[in-house]
């Protein structure tokens, strides 16, 4: 990930340099203050007569220096931000681009939630890490080192105080961090549990009320609440020791510096002004140490996040393009063939979802697929557009192995509408136009009409331009499914796959949809996964899948005669 810095190397160098400017000014201040007190006010070298002009003179010089420091500080901020935010942005864009190119087994492995966190939170953490490195860390380190150097140049004996207190502070900080960090994990866990109880009660309010469980739930919530409050209190109480101990250590060292200084002043080795400066330096040094621990926390978080982002960046798509662009051959259009296909989800071991599956779907054929939930229906159709690759055997589209095609050529031949209709937060028109970005209004309306979606779209005030809320929440399940179907139809592909996309439609609408589809697109190969026998009853053939195997395949009439499972399903739905 360091290579992303290359573009911003200038900023990366300038930010610490300007910081050096700011810190030097900060470090000069106590010394100048000392001069003002010693020479200007006390007039030590002038036999106890103050020198007002020196005060004013040095004071103005000091203000100039501080102003210069301020400019340096601001410039350092400018460059640090230019560097870190642009760096973060580049990584963010690359990471997102990479995610958009991943194969499903990879997105499954990462899980959606984790991918989202990686592109959002983790990047912010890395950004913070970088800006801490070029600014915070540099500043703190310079203040620390510079503070020690300045203090020792005042008088070496002040070093004794530093040597004594520093290890104590470091030990103390380490102790508290080690002690509290594991508690935060517990705390998060307790918080999750409490939120879970609330979530259950809000979404399950009917059940809670139906079984008159209000008091029971209150008790359950009370327990989760007590746990959370207890843990939180433990953390806070532990931390309430930390601040005072640190403060006392700091204050004791201030006293020690004065005492040591007094001895040296008594011996004539140093001046009261120097003692005052030393007091300032010691608190600067110790503050730097404490700030350093915070920076280390940011760094360790940032490094962990960086590792997580790197995992994404280093992930090469496992499903890659073939070479065949699909343009040359025109003889067969819309043929799908499964040759002894077996499939197990990557990472799920040998547990096969599909086993030795053989089936050829002819161009223009309508194939229904029936089977219990979890029998492998969706997994099967996922193999056609290469959402996943078969573990064994071959999947062929138009007589070519799907792995030979370029992905865009292959997916261009196929239109899929999913059961969990993925609708995006834009207008309905845009959502449908995903199928074919060049489509005009007429084509979009036509597709929507075929999908039986016009009926509800036209009832909306803004028609096709109606905005869909995020997650499609402003549409009902059936409406979302119809928009997804319209999108698939608009694509006008050779192969149309409905993965249980009509489950939320009432039977009449569903029947009309299929009728119209058959009439308008007779040459398209249609693969329809369904739960209801009525949805697929009139398909050319119906494949019945059980436990990942093809249990039976044939027309409705044939299956009624030959397949026990099919009859079973039929009876369960028709109750004859």
């Amino acid at each position: 990930m360091i290579k992303y810095l290359r573009k911003y190397w200038l900023f990366f160098i300038l930010a610490p340099l300007f910081m050096l400017g700011e810190v030097s000014m900060d470090l000069l201040q106590p010394r100048l203050m000392g001069t003002i007190v010693d020479e200007g006010v006390l007039g030590l070298s002038n036999g106890g007569v103050g020198d007002m002009s020196l005060v004013i003179h040095t004071g103005l010089r000091m203000i100039c220096l501080v102003l210069f420091g301020c400019c340096c500080g601001i410039m350092s901020g400018v460059f640090a931000n230019l560097c870190s935010q642009n760096y973060g942005n580049d990584i963010r864009k690359d990471a997102f681009r990479r995610i958009m190119a991943l194969s499903f087994e990879q997105t499954d492995r990462f899980s959606t939630g984790s991918l989202i966190t990686r592109v959002t939170n983790d990047i912010t953490q890395v950004q913070n890490l970088l800006s801490q490195c070029v600014r915070g860390f540099v500043r703190t380190f310079l203040l620390f080192a510079g503070g020690i150097v300045c203090m020792l140049t005042l008088h070496l004996s002040f070093g004794i105080v530093v040597v004594c207190v520093l290890p104590l502070i470091v030990l103390c900080v380490i102790f508290f961090i080690a002690k509290t960090n594991p508690m935060f994990t517990v705390l998060q866990d307790r918080l999750d549990r409490l939120n879970n109880v609330m979530q259950e009660n809000v979404s399950g309010i009917r059940v809670v009320k139906a079984y008159v469980k209000e008091d029971y739930e209150k008790e359950r919530f009370g327990r989760a609440n007590d746990d959370l409050v207890g843990t939180q209190l433990d953390v806070l109480l532990l931390l309430s020791y930390m601040t005072p101990i640190m403060n006392i250590l700091l204050n004791v060292s201030v006293v020690a510096v004065i005492k040591v200084g007094a001895i040296q002043v008594g011996a004539g080795h140093t001046t009261p002004g120097d003692v005052m400066a030393a007091v300032t330096y010691i608190s600067q040094i110790l503050n730097a140490v404490m700030r350093m621990t915070m920076i280390f926390q940011t760094v360790s978080r940032g490094v962990a996040s960086g590792r997580r982002i790197k995992e994404v960046l280093d992930c090469d798509p496992s499903i890659t393009d073939g070479t065949f662009d699909g343009e040359t051959e025109t003889s067969v259009k819309g043929k799908v063939e499964f040759r002894d296909v077996s499939f197990a989800y990557p990472g799920m071991g040998t547990e096969k979802v599909i086993e030795h599956f053989d089936l050829t779907i002819q161009p223009g054929e309508t194939l229904g697929i029936l089977g219990a939930t979890g029998c492998g229906k969706s997994s099967l159709v996922n193999l056609i557009p290469r959402f996943y690759d078969a573990t064994d055997g071959q999947v062929l589209v138009d007589d070519r192995d799907v792995r030979e095609y370029t992905l865009s050529a292959l997916r261009g031949k196929i239109a899929v509408a999913l059961q969990k209709s993925e609708i995006f937060s834009t207008s309905i028109r845009e959502n449908i136009a995903w199928g074919d970005t060049s489509a005009d209004d007429g084509q979009i309306r036509h597709a929507a009409g075929t999908a039986q979606a016009l009926e509800f779209i036209d009832r909306k005030e803004e028609g096709l331009d109606t905005q869909v809320a995020q997650g499609g929440h402003s549409l009902s399940g059936g409406q979302k499914q119809r928009v997804a179907i319209a999108r698939a139809i608009l694509k006008n592909a050779e192969i149309l796959i409905f993965d249980d996309t009509t489950s939320a439609l009432d039977l009449k609408t569903e029947a009309e949809l299929y009728q119209k589809l058959q009439k308008e697109y007779p040459d398209t190969t249609k693969i329809i996964i369904a739960q209801r026998i009525a949805s697929v009853k009139d398909a050319d053939r119906i494949a019945v899948i059980e436990n990942g195997r093809l249990a039976a395949c044939g027309s409705h009439a044939q299956l009624m005669e030959s397949s026990g499972i099919y009859r079973d399903i039929y009876d369960s739905q028709l109750k004859k």
Binding site: I56, F96, V229, K537
Partner: protein
């Protein structure tokens, strides 16, 4: 200087500690009223509050007094009175000790106080939420309700535990410091105040400049996160339609814009520190110059100057901080307002006192009218009588009012007019708890809790013995399934029961209804998302469950309801047909139509 150190310590990321600076500030609508109600929560903790105030007072006093001692010590050093130095140093240590102990007590007490208040507030809020009418929950986004219960309460908690005592000590420090400075040297004190004016002006100017950029950044961040969530969540569709490039381009646009406003916002935010530094140093020079002048003229001692230098720093900080705290308090109060808004909702009307002992389960709807939104009537003059022990089915398109019937019967909602009665008693007169205890309901979205299978089943009847529970499970065909789980009945279901299939969840919900031993049973689309063969299993279970009980079934699939005693076909809130399966078929009306599309199927 003591303040300086505390400041750096409070930057540790601790839950319950202050959030990042420059966060969006929300403005409450009626600050005074909400504040008054918040104060009531502290009334119970009067002693703690008093003690805390006393402690804060001591801490502030110590931190104001310490620099004075420091300056005296320096005076002794410069006056070469070394023999008189040690007692002062010892005294200083003592004051620092008091300060340390005080800080400890302060953070300890404010932790205890805030956690107690928050605990009470959460409990109160939860009590309100479970007793809210279903109408409220249905009518508000669950995300919004959740966010009030989590974020807003958390925000209040943070403010209470941190900002309040900072506010208090901040104000005290400023007052104490000013008093001390005035006592030491009034003219110099007034001169030091110029820094305050500069500080306030700078803070105001910078935060005003920042606000717009921070807001823009926040918006863009939300937009960006939204895009990522949507596109990664809908990844299959993105890939299936080859939209990756377009999506990435959109993302890049937002990301670039976010970076631009982020850079400006952070630069402005980051310049606060250096600017404050300049102001502080200007203050220092003013003090040194004028102090030196006064000292030369013998008006003050050198030690006073050194004390002033510390004091000037000490009161510059809290002023910068107070501005920040004020914003946090405003945000917290706006949150409190939302929390109280829920607490102010009228609770569910649970009046009614009559028992249902010995009830038969005759349900009567008489001329019931109902609308969720005024003007959009859902049920029109609805009349229906269900005889005891009968199995009655409601069919009809989505939105025809089937579920509304259930909502009214369970008193999740109350009818606008007309009467619903059980065995002739208006359900409004029946004790709501008893009504619900005698009516079991199985819903389309199975609600299971993150608890053991046992507790989930016994949810409907805590008194049930294990034998009862197993009997119910056997009857609902889920005993074998449960026994196959890792820990049998003690298996923990994950949140919302996601480690079970939809069908298994449904079976458990039915077993739960079984165990309730209800007089009336309601099944609302209980099997719609299960494949039909699993459904058959469930149905067999339900047949047993419905024996000798008045049951009300709502279903999409007609196969589910064919053997009902009485089928009611609804359309737009009215009953359009009623009768048993054969009668309705022979009428060749809407039911026949539905039946034909469903069973004979149409051409694909």
């Amino acid at each position: 200087m003591a303040e300086d150190r505390e400041q750096s310590m409070s930057k540790y990321k601790v839950p319950g500690m202050r959030g990042p600076r420059n966060r969006q500030v929300e403005k409450p609508k009626d600050m005074q009223k909400t504040l008054g109600r918040l104060v009531k929560y502290f009334a119970h903790e009067r002693m703690t509050v008093l003690f805390l105030s006393a402690v804060v007072f001591v801490v502030v006093a110590a931190s104001v007094y310490a620099p004075r001692l420091q300056s005296e010590a320096i005076d002794r050093v410069s006056g070469r009175e070394f023999d008189r130095l040690t007692p002062i140093l010892l005294f200083m240590l003592a004051v620092y000790g008091v300060h340390g102990v005080g800080t400890f007590l302060q953070s300890r007490e404010s932790a205890v106080l805030s956690q107690r208040v928050v605990k009470k507030m959460r409990e109160d809020l939860f009590d309100c939420v479970v007793n809210l009418p279903v109408k409220y929950i249905d009518g508000h986004s669950h995300g919004d309700i959740m966010s009030r219960m989590t974020n807003d309460v958390e925000n209040i908690s943070n403010t209470v535990s941190q900002s309040l005592s900072s506010l208090f000590s901040g104000i005290l420090t400023v007052l104490g410091t000013v008093a001390m400075m005035l006592y030491l040297c009034p003219p110099l004190a007034l001169l030091s105040c110029t820094t305050v004016i500069l500080t306030i002006a700078a803070t105001k100017f910078l935060s005003k400049a920042m606000r717009a950029f921070y807001r823009r950044r926040q918006e863009l961040l939300g937009e960006l996160n939204g895009t990522v969530e949507e596109m990664v969540g809908g990844y299959k569709t993105v890939v299936a339609y080859e939209r990756q490039e377009a999506v990435v381009e959109e993302f890049d646009r937002t990301a670039d814009e976010l970076t631009r406003s982020g850079i400006i916002a952070e630069i402005l935010g980051g310049s606060m520190g250096p600017v404050m530094n300049v102001i502080n140093n200007v203050g220092f020079v003013i003090i040194a110059a004028f102090g030196g002048y006064f000292a030369v003229n013998g008006m003050i001692s050198i030690g006073v100057i050194s004390a002033f230098i510390v004091y000037a720093k000490q009161f510059g900080r809290p002023i910068d901080e107070l501005a920040q705290i004020y914003g946090q308090i405003q945000t917290a109060i706006a949150g409190a307002e939302r929390v109280f808004a829920i607490m102010d909702q009228t609770r569910e009307d649970k009046s009614g006192s009559r028992d249902m002992e010995g009830a038969q389960g005759v349900i009567t709807f008489q001329n019931v009218n109902f609308s969720y939104i005024p003007g959009q009537q859902v049920l029109h003059d609805f009349c229906l009588e269900v005889r005891a022990g009968h199995k009655i089915a409601l069919v009809g398109a989505t939105g025809s009012g089937k579920t509304t019937v259930v909502n009214l019967l369970m008193r999740f909602y109350d009818a606008d007019s007309g009467e619903i009665s059980i065995d002739g008693v208006d359900i409004k007169d029946i004790d709501c708890r008893i009504l619900r205890q005698n009516t079991a309901i199985v819903l389309q979205d199975t609600v299971l809790f993150a608890d053991t299978v046992r507790n989930n089943l016994k949810y409907s009847n805590e008194q049930a013995s294990d034998e009862d529970m197993i009997r119910a499970a056997v009857m609902s065909n889920c005993h074998d399934m449960v026994m196959r789980l890792k820990d049998g009945y003690d298996t923990m279901l994950s949140g919302e029961g996601y480690n079970l299939s939809q069908g298994q969840r449904q079976l458990l919900a039915i077993a739960r209804a079984f165990l309730a031993q209800p007089k009336i049973l309601i099944l609302d689309e209980a099997t719609s998302s299960v494949d039909t063969r699993t459904e058959k299993k469930i149905q067999d279970a339900m047949v047993k469950l419905m024996e000798n009980r008045t049951s009300l079934i709502i279903a999409h699939r007609l196969s589910t309801i064919q053997d009902a005693d009485y089928i009611v076909v609804m359309d737009q809130g009215r009953i359009i047909e009623a009768g048993n399966h054969e009668e309705l078929l022979s009428q060749k009306g809407r039911y026949y139509e539905l039946y034909m599309t469903q069973f004979s199927g149409n051409t694909i």
